[in-house]
Symmetry: C2
Subunit: 163 residues, 2 copies
Amino acid sequence: MGLNASFEPHPDLEPLRFLLGTWRGEGAGGYPTIDPFTYGEEMRFEDVGDRYLLYGQSSWTLDGGDPVHFERGFLRPGTDAGSVELTLAHPLGLAEVGEGRVDATTMSIESDRVTRTGTGDAVTALRRRYVVRGDVLTYEIDMAMDETAMTRHLTAELRRTEP
Amino acid sequence: MGLNASFEPHPDLEPLRFLLGTWRGEGAGGYPTIDPFTYGEEMRFEDVGDRYLLYGQSSWTLDGGDPVHFERGFLRPGTDAGSVELTLAHPLGLAEVGEGRVDATTMSIESDRVTRTGTGDAVTALRRRYVVRGDVLTYEIDMAMDETAMTRHLTAELRRTEP
């Protein structure tokens, strides 16, 4: 016994369905305070039959498979058509709340409410943009920190490996 | 290629290792504003070789397996021995940052920084207590909302099904 896998998709999720599935690929990162780096990544957007999607991301070093980063959270429609809300946890001692828009197969989210634990990273805001073209997903993430204004942090290109 | 599954556990995680594994069982919920309910649940604490654990929880109705709730996030040691930090996302439009203590096989966490999306639930704080005895995990979660002071919300008993 567990979660029922046979359900009717929630009609409010229609605008987000282009994201569904498992995506794998590679990305590149940088920031004024760190050396540039590359990573392998798997991302998953999952429908469980309620009015939200489960979102998860895992990334690793390309030369040894060591953990780079994880994100775990949820996407759901907001108040009006095309709006989207994000709640997200990071292992860096950060929790993120974002709001944005979906336009066809592009999703843009601004997270200016980032809270942190006592030892959490000094991130203050994130700006996310995901674009899907067929079975290719590209994204760009900008980040602001206590001492650094909003700056490009990550770009990646992933391919859908499972629906 | 993906995450390397063979790694040395991070020594700082030693105090949290009693949580590791997959746990399944049942719980009961209530709150002044809702009818009492019961649920099935699976919870997982996962080590990926870095200085944090991945935490996830899924719950469902006992009569049909419909989704009840999900939590996705991370636990990591804080600044001093026995301290623990939690970052967590909920599908209810909530993100949570908590801090607490681990004492042998009891973990207590207070989350008084809960942020919400525009349509997020009116939760303001959570108090969590997890106790492991052998292969049995019990927990109690209290919740405060805009209009309701901190009140018992959930209790559950789970058994470890995988290490």
